[in-house]
């Protein structure tokens, strides 16, 4: 049996987390292994749960998504990180890329964009 793609969800809105979880529950190859409400929690949870992918909100209290991305990328064998942002323009994408994020999606078109990126990651890790 093919193993599932493990994903950590990071967002400060419970409502957003819940609707994302509801969506992913119907995707058989995705396994949501945990959630975090800010960047600091995301660092600890990534270390502990070792997900393959982190879906990271850009703007959060305590520690935002970009700083958390930089710091998570400093760990041994870091996960694939996708930044989700309300605002989608060249400058936001540039900041995400500089922080070391592997992907960027607009929150206004979240499901479509995130699913296509996750499918790519699944494709590239399936043979490993």
């Amino acid at each position: 049996m093919e193993s599932k793609l493990t994903v950590l969800l990071v967002d400060d809105h419970e409502g957003f987390l819940n609707s994302a979880k509801r969506h992913f529950r119907n995707v058989p190859w995705i396994d949501i292994v945990g959630q975090a409400l800010n960047g600091l929690e995301a660092i600890a949870k990534t270390e502990q749960l070792k997900p393959v992918v982190v879906l990271m909100d850009l703007a959060m209290p305590e520690m935002g998504g970009l700083q958390a991305t930089r710091l998570i990328k400093a760990q041994t064998e870091p996960p694939y990180i996708i930044i989700a942002s309300h605002f989608d323009d060249a400058e936001h994408r540039e900041h995400a890329a500089r922080a070391g994020a592997d992907g960027f999606v607009s929150k206004l078109n979240y499901v479509q964009e995130v699913m296509s990126l996750l499918a790519n990651v699944r494709g590239s890790t399936a043979h490993v």
Binding site: D12, P61, M63, H92, R98
Partner: protein, 473 residues
């Protein structure tokens, strides 16, 4: 614990509700209040909000304390002022004009969307700029000394500079150092990462566009060349630029003028260009992915950034500078043992100073206020050395290099920072002696409890004793 993103303060409750609805509809989280007295500011940080919309003011005295609270953070979020405040608001409230943006009413969706997008960019910029080391490269190795000489040499001429070197070697730090030492230092410094912007967007990012130039161009917009007028434009990852864009850039460098996308008017510019890349451009020329004529235009004064593995003797100074900067910005005090430092010196640093900087910051998050031993380092940093068996001798990196409190070092010091570091050390000592009970620590320091709590917040130490603060309250 959903965090409200946009604060709306308006005593005109109908209007406030309407603005709230617009923001809700945009999928943002409005936090609507008729009066600032409804907010408990002592538990808030201005950075909790992306922007602050202000309308009618209910209570003048609460408003005054709100403004004081806001001004205390020089990087506070932008204030979006409704028409009643457009003309004299900034001055009356003692706020910086550059952070005081007029908002029309009735709300126009494209306007508010653009203002909030800009607020978000400002937030990202401020966070990044606060992290960027000032004053040029750190260290005293021969390579860094040579680098500093080159920066000083070229700073005052308006020549184009090409900075090369591996990723993470600090090309932007060098570019900023050139800018800070140049006659253009009072002009803007604008940075663009050409590799991170999709090729089809790069032209409008650099040169701007007119309204209607392409689908989605709802308003006209200045490009980065215009934003950098009178200052310096840093074009990072220039080696990733497409061939058609290279032609356009070459023209600006030769003729000092350009047109916005979809515009006819030629705009003259006075901008110094500093370009950087981690690629070997001569190889790219041979492969046909970089124009030779542009290369010679850029390569007037080449600077090569040394890799960190070629200047390992700077490692201790770098760690010291990084830990100081973290503690100064209230992001935790961390120190490394001598063993940990030795282990880091043996590592190859493929990601160079950026990798080191991310590692140190990560350690500060995972070991707040603590000492990092060799065994606490992530595995990849200690794979090539044996771990010491005995407990390590603790060398506190961020104190070892601090001069004695009352001796002025030869090269001077930053008095404010120095005094602050003494204060932090004494407060921490008092807290330790008082077993973390803030009220007792305050007595040891002859301070009122509230004053000490303020200081803990100021130095970002409040989280260390959060539990005591809440149990005492």
């Amino acid at each position: 614990m959903s965090e409200s993103r946009i604060l709306v303060i308006d005593d005109n409750t109908t209007r406030a509700e309407r603005i709230g609805t617009v923001l809700d509809f945009m999928d943002l989280t409005p936090n609507v209040h008729a009066c600032v007295s409804e907010l408990s500011l002592e538990r808030r940080d201005p950075q909790d909000w992306l922007a602050i919309v202000i309308g009618d003011i209910a209570d003048e005295s609460a408003w005054t304390s709100f403004l004081q609270w806001l001004r205390r953070d020089p990087l506070h979020p932008p204030v979006l002022a409704l028409p009643v405040h457009h003309y004299e608001g900034a001055e009356k409230f003692g706020l910086n004009e550059s952070n005081f943006w007029p908002l029309d009413y009735p709300i126009k969706q494209p306007q508010i969307a653009d203002l909030l997008r800009r607020s978000s960019i400002k937030h990202l910029h401020d966070a990044e700029a606060a992290d960027m080391p000032r004053g040029g490269p750190t260290g005293s190795s021969a390579l860094v000394q040579q680098l500093r000489r080159m920066i000083d040499q070229v700073a005052n001429f308006d020549t184009t500079v090409l900075i090369t070197g591996e990723s993470g070697t600090g090309k932007e730090v060098a570019a900023r150092a050139i800018y800070e030492r140049s006659a253009r230092r009072n002009g803007p410094f604008v940075a663009v990462n050409c590799g991170a912007i999709p090729a089809d967007l790069l032209e409008s990012e650099l040169f701007g566009h007119e309204k209607g130039a392409f689908t989605g161009a709802i308003t006209s917009r200045k490009g980065r060349f215009e934003l950098a007028e009178g200052g310096t434009l840093f074009l990072d990852e220039i080696g990733d630029m497409s061939m058609p864009m290279q032609v356009k850039l070459l023209r600006v460098l030769q003729e000092r003028c350009f047109e916005r996308v979809g515009g006819d008017a030629t705009i003259r510019c006075n901008v110094r260009v500093i370009a950087a890349t981690h690629r070997n451009l001569e190889d790219s020329i041979v492969k046909g992915s970089f124009r030779e004529d542009l290369f010679y235009r850029l390569n007037v004064f080449p600077i090569e950034m040394p890799a960190l593995r070629d200047r390992r003797e700077d490692l201790a100074a770098l760690v010291d500078a990084l830990t100081r900067q973290l503690s100064k910005s209230g992001r935790g005090n961390v120190s490394l043992t001598g063993e940990a430092l030795t282990m880091l010196k043996a590592y190859a640093w493929p990601g160079n100073v950026r990798e080191l900087s991310n590692l140190v910051e990560r350690l500060a998050v995972l070991h707040p206020g603590g000492t990092v031993r060799a065994r606490d380092l992530p595995t990849r940093y200690r794979s090539n050395m044996e771990l010491p068996v005995e407990d390590e001798i603790i060398v506190v990196a961020d104190i070892s290099n601090v001069p004695p409190a009352d001796v002025l070092p030869n090269d001077g010091l930053d008095l404010k920072e120095h005094i602050a570091s003494i204060e932090v050390r004494l407060i921490r000592a008092a807290l330790e002696r008082a077993n973390g009970i803030v009220a007792h620590a305050a007595q040891l320091l002859c301070l009122r409890r509230t004053t000490l709590v303020e200081k803990l917040r100021k130095y970002g130490m409040s989280r260390e004793c959060d539990m005591f603060l809440t149990t005492e309250a």
